[in-house]
């Protein structure tokens, strides 16, 4: 390899490192719902969902014939959206079989959001159980509910549960719009 090629390689490497320092694009001009309107829609719809209860009927492919059930409740409360800071905060409480599993405040900085997806809770539950070493477990969830997953860097995810897939999709679209208003991008109205 000649020195010239080495310099090209070093320059390319430095270029890659510098690419991460590029500031986000400027906020686009409003053509759809404003950030305030979008965040109010988000807060209203998520707060409306309130407390969701469901039962997971679990089977284990490594132990044919085994099935057991777990009763879950998940409740979002005090969801507040700060348009100035581009942040959503909420309290999340879950119970499994009557015992508290989580009871904490969470924040989502919309500028850090990478992806927003909606999937059946059965699919989300399978992924969660697999992450904890139970890839052979599958859950049938009753009633059928849908999970909106907000993904950030380092595998950090926040979820919101909806009993209606259509509403989950609308909220996902609104959240996507809010993220775009916070960091710039597509302005298609939800």
């Amino acid at each position: 390899m000649t020195i010239r090629w080495l310099f090209v390689l070093v320059a390319f490497t430095c270029g890659l490192a510098r690419a991460q320092d590029v500031p986000p694009p400027p906020r686009p001009q409003d053509t759809g719902p404003s950030l305030d309107t979008t965040l109010k829609f988000l807060a209203d719809k998520i707060n409306d969902e309130g407390r969701v209860g469901y039962t997971a009927f679990v089977t284990d492919t490594s132990q044919p014939g085994v099935e057991w059930s777990n009763k879950f409740t998940a409740a979002v409360s005090n969801l507040a959206a700060d348009a100035k800071a581009c942040r959503i905060s909420f309290h999340w409480r879950t119970e499994v079989n009557g015992s508290s599993a989580d009871d904490k405040d969470y924040d989502i900085d919309l500028k850090d959001v990478r992806t927003i997806v909606v999937m059946p809770q059965e699919q989300n539950q399978k992924q969660i159980d697999a992450l904890r070493g139970h890839s052979a477990w599958s859950s049938r969830i009753e009633p059928n509910i849908f999970t909106l997953i907000v993904r950030r860097a380092k595998g950090i995810e926040n979820v919101f549960l909806f009993s209606d897939e259509g509403m989950a999709g609308r909220v996902a679209k609104a959240m996507q719009h809010a993220v775009e208003l916070c960091v710039g991008g597509n302005k298609e109205p939800f």
């Binding site: 070093v10 085994v66 057991w68 079989n97 989580d102 904890r132």
Partner: protein, 184 residues
């Protein structure tokens, strides 16, 4: 010139290796730092209990009493019990192969004998860490004599907490109760 080129080459290689290492740490970190408020499923209580029960358990019991015959002489018994519990029929089934070996001493005559029981039990799990089962075959012998089959009716019951508390009834009137067993 050649020496300088080699230095640049080495430095570049090290920089790339460092970047790869940082990338690997970042990827590992992304998994370790992951969070999602979805609560995971909890294991079936019965399956969890079955998994805790499987294994070799041992315990001892020492006690004194009087024989039931006419002289009602005093005796002391040193008893060693072992149960090998393994997964049995069905998703919640267990079987236990138990051995109960007793050294019985007549305290009034300073003589004694050995009595041994051996049997297999089919176990079903109950709620709250308890289980029970029936013998599907049990036998008894004394002083290394021939084994004799016991009548049906042997019963095993137990409860697991930090140890296993076991009751055994061999179906012929011989029994032992509340023996603290530890897993080997």
């Amino acid at each position: 010139m050649e020496e300088r080129a080699r230095m640049i080459r080495t430095t570049t290689q090290r920089a790339l290796q460092g970047m790869m290492a940082l990338l690997a740490v970042a990827i590992a970190g992304s998994v370790l730092d992951g969070q999602n408020q979805t609560p995971p499923n909890v294991p079936s209580p019965k399956i969890e209990l079955r998994d805790r029960l499987v294994g070799l358990w041992k315990g001892t019991s020492n006690y004194e009493g009087r024989f039931n015959d006419g002289a009602h002489q005093r005796y002391s018994t040193k008893e060693s019990i072992s149960c090998l519990i393994s997964k049995g029929d069905g998703p919640e089934g267990l079987s236990a192969r138990c051995n109960d070996s007793r050294q019985i001493t007549n305290l009034d005559q300073v003589s004694g004998f050995r009595r041994e029981f051996d049997g297999t039990f089919q176990i079903k799990l109950n709620g709250g860490g308890g289980f029970s089962g029936y013998a599907d075959g049990a036998q008894k012998r004394e002083d290394d004599g021939a084994w004799e089959n016991l009548p049906p009716g042997g019963v095993i019951t137990g409860r697991v907490s930090y140890q296993l508390n076991l009751d055994l009834n061999w179906g012929n009137g011989d029994s032992v109760g509340n023996v603290a067993m530890t897993k080997q």
